[in-house]
C-alpha cells in the first residue's frame, strides 16, 4: 500500500446526506421474496376486468432490504430521542420508555389477536384491558374509565361529549365551556368539535384560576369548565375544590385535562378534587413511546354520574372471572374510534405500572417534582420567572431579559441543540411572553441536569456577549434553520420524479 491517499478534501458521507428512498430506487429490485403461491394463480386482469384492473403503481421505490436498512438507520441518526439525552420538553413528559414494554407488546397473541375474534379466544387481551382500567381508576380515584380514545385530544373531545350527553339529559342545552387562558390548544379545538363555544377565563396574578372571575363567568348557559391541574405553569390549583363547587352550583361539570398527571400519581387523586371527568395521556404519564408524534392513547375516566355515557364497548368481568365486551349501553355517546382503542398502548402502560408498583410510582412522581425544582431554582437568576408560586413537575421562564438583546425563546432553544440537549417547549403557555417551559421528568439524572443548567447559564452569557451566535443557532446539526415561511407559501408535500423536490436534491 504505497499509493498516496488521493483524497485531499473529504466529502460529506451519505450518512449525513441520505437521499429520499425514491432517489435510491433502480428498476428490478425488491426488499422481499414471497413464498411460492400454494394455490392456482388467479389472473387479476381477467378477474378484475378492465374496469378495476390497475396497470402499474407509479412512483413506488425499488430497493433491496440492505438499502432499506441503511436508509432508515441513517435517517434515525438525524433524530434526537429520549435515549439520546435530556429531553426537557415542557408539558410533554418525555420520560424513559422501558424496553420490556416493547417486548411484551409484541408477544404473539397480544400482537396478533383480532378485535372480532370470539371472546372466549381473546381472554388475555381482555384481561390486559380490564387490569389496565382497574389500575388507572385506582390511580385517578375515578369510578369508571374507557380506554377507547386514541390520544389526549380525542380523550378531551370524548369527555366533552360525555358532559354534553349528561347535561342534555338533565336540562336545556348549554352553550359554553370555560377555559383558562393558560390551556393547551387542543382544549378550545375540542370544545368546538363538541359543538360548544369557548369562553376564555383570565388567570390571576399567581397564574391560577381567579375565583371571582370564575363565579362571574359561570352562568346557567355554561356547560362546564375545562382545566389542567397542575396547570401549564406547573402550579397546583390549590382552590380546585372551591372551583368545582362553583361550577357544580350552577349545574355545570368539571373536566380535568390530565396532561400533567405525572405530578400527581401516588400523591393525590383527581377523584378527590371534585372533578367529574378527566383524560390521561398514556404516552406522557405512563411511558408509552411518543414515536416521533404518536401513537398515543387518551383514556377517559369519569365519576359515576357520567359512566352510562361512556363509549361502547366496555370491558366487563363476569362473576366467574371471564371477560366480555359490553356493547349494550343505551345511553352511550357511541364510538369515537373503531375497535377497542390503542390496545398496544394499554399493554405498555400496564407493564410500566407493574414495574413500579405503588411505592415506585410515588417515588417517580417525587423525583419528577424534585428534578423540576432543582433546575428552576438554579436558573432563576439567569432567566426571568414570571410566576413565583411553588411549582410541581415543570416550570416556565420568560425570555424578557434576553429579548432586550434581540434573542427570543426560540433562539435559546436552538442554541441548546448545539450543547447536545433537546430544547424545552417554546412560546407556550401563551400567558407568558416568550415562554420557556421546562419539564425534566423523573428520568433526568443529577449529572445530566447539572450539564443542562450549565448550558442554559452559558447561553444566557452568550446572549449578552455574542447574541448573533444564539440567533443563528444551531450550528452543529445536519441542516441549519429551515425556511418555514417559504415552505408554507409554496408547499411541496410529496416527491415527484422531476419536480421541485428533485431540484432540491441537486443543491444538497
Amino acid at each position: 500500500m504505497t499509493r498516496k491517499n488521493s483524497i485531499t478534501q473529504a466529502r460529506t458521507h451519505v450518512t449525513r446526506n441520505e437521499d429520499l428512498i425514491f432517489e435510491r430506487s433502480s428498476p428490478g429490485k425488491s426488499g422481499v421474496d414471497l413464498p411460492a403461491l400454494d394455490v392456482p394463480a388467479a389472473d387479476p386482469k381477467e378477474w378484475l376486468g378492465e374496469e378495476f384492473y390497475r396497470e402499474d403503481v407509479d412512483g413506488f421505490p425499488e430497493v433491496s432490504e440492505t438499502e432499506v436498512i441503511r436508509h432508515f438507520t441513517r435517517l434515525s441518526t438525524w433524530n434526537y430521542g429520549i435515549d439520546t439525552g435530556l429531553y426537557p420538553l415542557g408539558s410533554c413528559t418525555m420520560k424513559y420508555n422501558p424496553r420490556i414494554n416493547e417486548v411484551v407488546a409484541r408477544l404473539d397473541g397480544l400482537a396478533t389477536d383480532h378485535p372480532y375474534a370470539p371472546e372466549s379466544l381473546v381472554q388475555g387481551c381482555l384481561r390486559v384491558l380490564a387490569e389496565t382500567a382497574r389500575c388507572l381508576k385506582e390511580i385517578t380515584g375515578m369510578d369508571a374509565i374507557s380506554l377507547q380514545p386514541a390520544a389526549g385530544a380525542q380523550g378531551e373531545l370524548t369527555g366533552l361529549l360525555l358532559i354534553r350527553a349528561c347535561l342534555d339529559d338533565r336540562d336545556r342545552r348549554r352553550k359554553y365551556i370555560l377555559i383558562p387562558d393558560s390551556a393547551h390548544g387542543t382544549n378550545p379545538a375540542s370544545v368546538t368539535m363538541a359543538g360548544y363555544e369557548v369562553r376564555n377565563l383570565k388567570s390571576n396574578a399567581q397564574g391560577c384560576v381567579d375565583l371571582v372571575e370564575l363565579d362571574h363567568a359561570m352562568t346557567e348557559d355554561v356547560a362546564g369548565l375545562m382545566l389542567t391541574n397542575p396547570n401549564t405553569l406547573g402550579i397546583f390549583e390549590t382552590q380546585i375544590r372551591e372551583i368545582c363547587e362553583i361550577v357544580h352550583a350552577k349545574g355545570g361539570l368539571v373536566y380535568m385535562d390530565g396532561a400533567n398527571m405525572n405530578a400527581l400519581v401516588g400523591v393525590a387523586r383527581p377523584g378527590e378534587f371534585g372533578v367529574d371527568v378527566m383524560h390521561l395521556n398514556l404516552h406522557k404519564t405512563f411511558s408509552t413511546p411518543h414515536g416521533g408524534g404518536g401513537p398515543g392513547s387518551g383514556p377517559v375516566a369519569v365519576k359515576q354520574l357520567l359512566e352510562p355515557y361512556l363509549p361502547t364497548p366496555m370491558v366487563e368481568e363476569s362473576p366467574e372471572g371471564a371477560y366480555r365486551l359490553n356493547y349494550d349501553r343505551p345511553k352511550s355517546i357511541g364510538r369515537v374510534r373503531a375497535f377497542c382503542g390503542n390496545f398496544g398502548m394499554a399493554v405498555r402502560a400496564l407493564a410500566y405500572i407493574l414495574a413500579y408498583g405503588p411505592e415506585g410510582l410515588r417515588q417517580a412522581t417525587e423525583d419528577a417534582v424534585l428534578n423540576a425544582n432543582y433546575i428552576i431554582h438554579q436558573l432563576q437568576d439567569a432567566y426571568e420567572l414570571p410566576y413565583q408560586a411553588p411549582i410541581m413537575h415543570e416550570g416556565v421562564f420568560s425570555d424578557r431579559k434576553q429579548a432586550a438583546r434581540g434573542v427570543r425563546t426560540g433562539d435559546i432553544a436552538k442554541r441548546l441543540i448545539d450543547y447536545g440537549f433537546h430544547p424545552y417547549t417554546t412560546a407556550f403557555p401563551l400567558i407568558v411572553p416568550g415562554a420557556m417551559m421546562i419539564e425534566p421528568t423523573e428520568s433526568a439524572g443529577r449529572a445530566e441536569m447539572d450539564a443542562f443548567i450549565d448550558a442554559m447559564r452559558a447561553i444566557a452569557v452568550e446572549v449578552e456577549e455574542e447574541p448573533d451566535l444564539v440567533r443563528k443557532a444551531p450550528h452543529t446539526t445536519r441542516v441549519t434553520r429551515l425556511d418555514e415561511a417559504t415552505a408554507a407559501r409554496k408547499p411541496i408535500l410529496c416527491w415527484k420524479p422531476s419536480g421541485e423536490a428533485a431540484e432540491g436534491k441537486a443543491k444538497s
Binding site: L48, F72, L482, L493
Partner: protein
C-alpha cells in the same frame, strides 16, 4: 427502582442545593385534604422476568394457534422482521413530534416519504402524515368536506365499515350533521339509483368504501359522476389498502381516507394503527393532521419541516381544522418501511397472492351444495359467503379445526342471516383453506337430514 437515575444521595444533595429539608415539602402546595393518605392499591413492583411472565400468561389465552379468516378493517399480513428492527431504534421511537426540525430530520423525511407513498397509491395529489386510524380518518374527511362545501349533510354507504359509520355519527351528533345511509344492491355494491335519490343541494359528501365492507369493489367513476353533479364531494374510504396494488386507485374521489394497518402494523386487538387522508392540492388548507413539507436551510440544503401549521390547534385554537395533536407517526413509519421493502413489484405480487387465495377459498365454498357466494361483483381478499346451515354452528365447527372462520354479518346487518365475511390473505395456507371447505361440506351434508333454521331467508342478498 431500575428506571430512576437518581440515588438517595443524589436526592439529598439536590434538596440541599434548593434549600429544602424534604421532598414532602415540595408537595405542601397541595391542600392536605387532597393529598393521598396511604398507598395505592396496585400490584407490583415486578422485576423484568416477572413482567414478562405476566404478559406471557395473558398471551397464552389468545387465538394465536388458530388460522384467522377475519378481516373487516384489521388484516393479518406477514410483517418482515426489518420493520421492528428499525422501529426499535430509540432515535425513532423515543422522539417527540418533530417541532424542532433540525434534530428531527429523520422523522420528518420518513413522513415526507409516507405522504408520497400514500398519494401515489391512492391516486391523489397530497396525503397527510397520518391520523389515529381509518375510522377517525374517514370522519375527519367528512368534517373536511363539510368545511369545503359549507353544507351539513353526509351520505354514508351502508357498506361502509359499521364502526366507521358509528364514529361519524358520534362526531356529527352535536354538530347537527344530518347523516343518511345509502343501501346496497344485489351485487353488494352501492345502489346508484337510491344514491341519486338521496343526493340534494345540502349534501356535503358521500362516503363509500372500496373494497367495501363486503369486500366488493365499488364503481368509483360512476359514483363520482353522480356525487359531483349534486355539488357534493366524494370520499372513498379504504380499509384494505393492499388492494390498491392491483385495483385502480379512486382518482375520481375528492378525498381518500383509510387505514394503513395492512402495511406492516400488527393487528394487536384493534390498535394502534395508522389512518391516512389524501386529497387534491386545492383542498390542502382544509386538511386536518400534520403535514410535512420540503424546505431549504440557510445554506440552500434540502430539509423537511412541519408545514401549513396555521391549520392546527396549537396555533389556531378553537378555529383549527381539527383538535388533533398526536398522529400515529411510528405506525406510519412502519407502513413506510413496509412499502419500501415491498416496492413496486412486491406490492403487486403480494396483492396477486391475496387475490388468488381469496379466489381459491371462494370457489371452494361456492362448490359446496347449499353454500353460496351471494355478491357477484369482483372482490379483492375479502368476500361474503352464505353458509349451508346456521352460521354460528359452522363457526363453532371451524373452531374445532382451529380456524376462526370469519365474521358473522348478522351482527351488523340483521338481514344477512347466515352470511359470513371471510378474509383470506397470504397468511392462510391451501391446507387450511381445504380444511375449511371440508367443514362447509360436512355442514351441507348434515343439512340434508335436518330442517332449515326457522325464518331463514330464501333470497341470496337482501336490499336495505
Amino acid at each position: 427502582m431500575r428506571y430512576l437515575p437518581n440515588s438517595a444521595s443524589d436526592r439529598e444533595r439536590m434538596l440541599e442545593t434548593i434549600g429544602r429539608k424534604s421532598v414532602a415539602g415540595l408537595f405542601e402546595q397541595i391542600p392536605e385534604v387532597l393529598r393521598l393518605n396511604g398507598r395505592l392499591n396496585l400490584p407490583g413492583p415486578l422485576s423484568e422476568p416477572e413482567i414478562l411472565q405476566f404478559f406471557r400468561d395473558a398471551a397464552a389465552e389468545s387465538s394465536r394457534d388458530y388460522v384467522s379468516l377475519l378481516g373487516a378493517g384489521a388484516y393479518s399480513h406477514y410483517r418482515p422482521v426489518t420493520i421492528d428492527m428499525l422501529l426499535s431504534r430509540g432515535e425513532f421511537f423515543t422522539a417527540y413530534t418533530p417541532y424542532q426540525a433540525e434534530i428531527a430530520q429523520g422523522t420528518l423525511q420518513a413522513m415526507f416519504e409516507f405522504q408520497t407513498l400514500m398519494a401515489e397509491l391512492t391516486g391523489m395529489e397530497v396525503a397527510n402524515s397520518s391520523l389515529y386510524d381509518g375510522s377517525t380518518a374517514t370522519n375527519e374527511a367528512a368534517l373536511m368536506a363539510m368545511r369545503l362545501t359549507r353544507r351539513e349533510r353526509v351520505v354514508l354507504a351502508r357498506t361502509l365499515h359499521p364502526e366507521y359509520r358509528e364514529v361519524v355519527r358520534t362526531y356529527g351528533h352535536n354538530l347537527q350533521t344530518e347523516i343518511v345511509e345509502a343501501p346496497y344492491e344485489t351485487s353488494g355494491q352501492i345502489d346508484l339509483a337510491e344514491l341519486e335519490r338521496l343526493l340534494d343541494e345540502k349534501t356535503a359528501a358521500v362516503v363509500v368504501q372500496s373494497p367495501n365492507f363486503f369486500g366488493v369493489l365499488e364503481k368509483i367513476p360512476a359514483i363520482a359522476e353522480l356525487v359531483h353533479r349534486s355539488g357534493a364531494l366524494l370520499i372513498v374510504a379504504v380499509t384494505e389498502p393492499l388492494s390498491l396494488g392491483l385495483v385502480k386507485p379512486p382518482s375520481e374521489a375528492d378525498i381518500v381516507a383509510g387505514e394503513a394497518q395492512s402495511f406492516g402494523i400488527p393487528v394487536a386487538f384493534g390498535g394502534p394503527y395508522a389512518g391516512f387522508l389524501a386529497t387534491r392540492e386545492k383542498f390542502v388548507r382544509q386538511m386536518p393532521g400534520r403535514l410535512v413539507g420540503q424546505a431549504a436551510d440557510t445554506e440552500g440544503r434540502r430539509g423537511f419541516v412541519l408545514t401549513l401549521v396555521t391549520r392546527e390547534q396549537y396555533i389556531r385554537r378553537e378555529k383549527a381544522t381539527s383538535n388533533i395533536c398526536t398522529s400515529q407517526s411510528l405506525c406510519a413509519l412502519a407502513a413506510t418501511i413496509y412499502l419500501c421493502l415491498l416496492g413496486k413489484h412486491g406490492l403487486r405480487a403480494l396483492a396477486e397472492q391475496n387475490l388468488s387465495k381469496a379466489r381459491y377459498a371462494a370457489e371452494k365454498i361456492g362448490a359446496v351444495a347449499g353454500a353460496s357466494i351471494p355478491f357477484a361483483a369482483p372482490h379483492f381478499n375479502e368476500f361474503v359467503a352464505k353458509s349451508p346451515g346456521d352460521a354460528e354452528e359452522l363457526l363453532a365447527a371451524l373452531r374445532e379445526q382451529k380456524i376462526i372462520g370469519g365474521l358473522n354479518l348478522e351482527r351488523f346487518y340483521p338481514e344477512l342471516e347466515n352470511h359470513l365475511l371471510i378474509c383470506v390473505t397470504e397468511m392462510a395456507s391451501k391446507e387450511a383453506l381445504d380444511r375449511m371447505a371440508e367443514v362447509y361440506g360436512t355442514q351441507a351434508a348434515g343439512m340434508q337430514t335436518r330442517p332449515a333454521r326457522k325464518g331463514a331467508p330464501a333470497a341470496v342478498a337482501s336490499r336495505d
